[in-house]
Symmetry: C2
Subunit: 420 residues, 2 copies
Amino acid sequence: MKIKATLLTIGDEILIGQIVDTNSAFIAKQLNKIGIQVEEILSVQDEMIHIIEAFQRGITKSNIIIVTGGLGPTKDDKTKAALCQFLNCELVREEKVIENIIQLFEARGYTKELNNLNQEQALIPEKSKFIQNKYGTAPCLWTDFEDKIIINLPGVPFEMKGLVLDDIIPRLKNKFEADVIVHRDILVTGISESDLAILLEDWENQLPDYIHLAYLPNRTSIDLRFTATGIDEVYLKESIQQEINKFKVIAGQYLISENSGKAQRVLGDILKQNNLTISTTESCTGGNIASLITSISGSSSYFNGSVVAYATNVKTSVLGVNADDIDKFTVVSEQVAEQMSKGVRTILNTDIAISTTGVAGPNKGEDGKDVGTAWVAVTNGEKTITRSYFYPYMDREDFIKTVSNNALNLAIQFIQKELS
Amino acid sequence: MKIKATLLTIGDEILIGQIVDTNSAFIAKQLNKIGIQVEEILSVQDEMIHIIEAFQRGITKSNIIIVTGGLGPTKDDKTKAALCQFLNCELVREEKVIENIIQLFEARGYTKELNNLNQEQALIPEKSKFIQNKYGTAPCLWTDFEDKIIINLPGVPFEMKGLVLDDIIPRLKNKFEADVIVHRDILVTGISESDLAILLEDWENQLPDYIHLAYLPNRTSIDLRFTATGIDEVYLKESIQQEINKFKVIAGQYLISENSGKAQRVLGDILKQNNLTISTTESCTGGNIASLITSISGSSSYFNGSVVAYATNVKTSVLGVNADDIDKFTVVSEQVAEQMSKGVRTILNTDIAISTTGVAGPNKGEDGKDVGTAWVAVTNGEKTITRSYFYPYMDREDFIKTVSNNALNLAIQFIQKELS
């Protein structure tokens, strides 16, 4: 059975661009794991009329509406009132919620009395059930509405995540026998998206109708995502593998990875499998590569650390880059990238090291190098490979992201080549 | 005149949680700057029926629909076909788009002939105008529809950003005399959200109806956001200032900053104003603080660099942390945090230094410290302040973010206190 969900986000901060809606991506991923498909994601203003209309839309389109935000104690939080109006019921007081708030305050060392607004958090629409929130004061609401479900969660990410993982996913899994959804990505490079699509046309046309293919082009590679929906997970996975086998006959020379994913995860897996350690030294990427590597749990087994060498004198004094070479070739050069990588590898005592140096902009570098220029090096002490990049149109944020990703991919290629 | 926009995102990768929709936040921010208010943000599947229904909804609710994604050359991109069906018109070929693709390929050093799918990118709905995309092969589409506008942009962030800043915002600004929207955030700490709301109740009730107040609670502080809408920017800004002056009489003791914003930006401003430099050394935050600091353009004038000391031996060998103290107090301790901060300050030769050490999880630290424990230190060489945090319920990502943000705020407080 196909079970569909609408994700509804309430709060002006998303509509004015102050924050990025990361909650929806998290919830969508968790729902997909139990076979529930997200029909749409909608963000509306924290106003009764908009919230009620969004409930109505969600109920029409999906089996489940998951609402985040607007449950706080202050005036600008109107979700509970909107839910009452939508359900045509009153708020009733739940003493157990008060008990939870008192426990929570005690654990945080607060000694103060509950004020009126704290008390109001215990008011629950009488047609809803509540689920205790051990992470915060606003309880989660679960409302059975005709044959649909409306779930209200607080918008604070760590409260939302805790409730989704501890309570919502287990309950939904128990309630619905949803179809299984299997995703798998493979990574392709060395061919343009359009040339690839032409090459794959016949194969794409013969794909079974329960397998859906998507092209996700990156700057230097393309992710091909297979999505299979059905009832038998093993069968779906095998079907995708069979299609990948056919793909390899047609376009195998362009395939980098049969299980692509975030570069920092792929790199971590390769390092662990081969018992190698890594360090980074970063100028233009400013610590972003280290931050990506350490976003993977367990990275401490292969990542020793990084020297973020933002100032030029850190490159010479800490990493031992030759000052004359900086004068001669400038700080954004192949020579400096290479010396940085070798320097950090020695200092942090790792098998492999990555370095970056470049001009993220928006202003030109101190030596007049153009914005968007970068050099990346990867070394194992004996061999070093270097690459230059030039992205004149990118803003600072995208430039840092792209160079970081390129550097991680270069390290993957370097290790794979050295090991083969 | 109130001008409203709907942001529509097309693409399954958002609905399965594979990527976070950062495009919408970027566009919303730019629209707000020219007085256009985002009515809602909607993400739908890359299917004709869903896209067309979303066009219909957007047209009903807003003056402008800005659509991102689905313009690529492959089968899974259906936006152009959906737009034709919605407009009831055919695709026509625009030779100038072909010329742009050829130029772009030449600039990238491609010598190959344009294939059929490249050629198809030059097909434009005959009721739409196109805007050349100098960042990629898919042109931007601008469609006047009755008294509304539909704008189609590619989903690749750097292409979208370039087109929005270069073309879309100037054209919309020219076309509409939109109301001015002014946002201002102030930062409050030392009081719970609900106690603050009770304290401010009378003041909040007397706010003029063109000023809207929102509470944005963080872990250790609350952002209060004022949003004023009208026609006279100077008047709106003055009105907000007057309300902040009244706020200060009531709750001035809780105010940290009259112009809050991202901590890395506030810290950068304070460092620049006082001609101070900073460095970081990070264990549990893994380079994230360095990455946040260097996300601000111009940070090279005050940020020298960082030593990401993930492995314990980097803490001793590079930073000079006493190995006996690590044995005695464990690596996640006040003593180690303090020595790390002093070590990096000396090595990277800065006025101020920040350090972090903790257990991000999901597994316990090597010395058995509980997941969610962290120590942060800030030093100027003479004085050092330290703080401990314990967030047992947070996942790895939120823990890293929260500790990073705490560390930046601690540095702000430290500098403000030392200077006063």
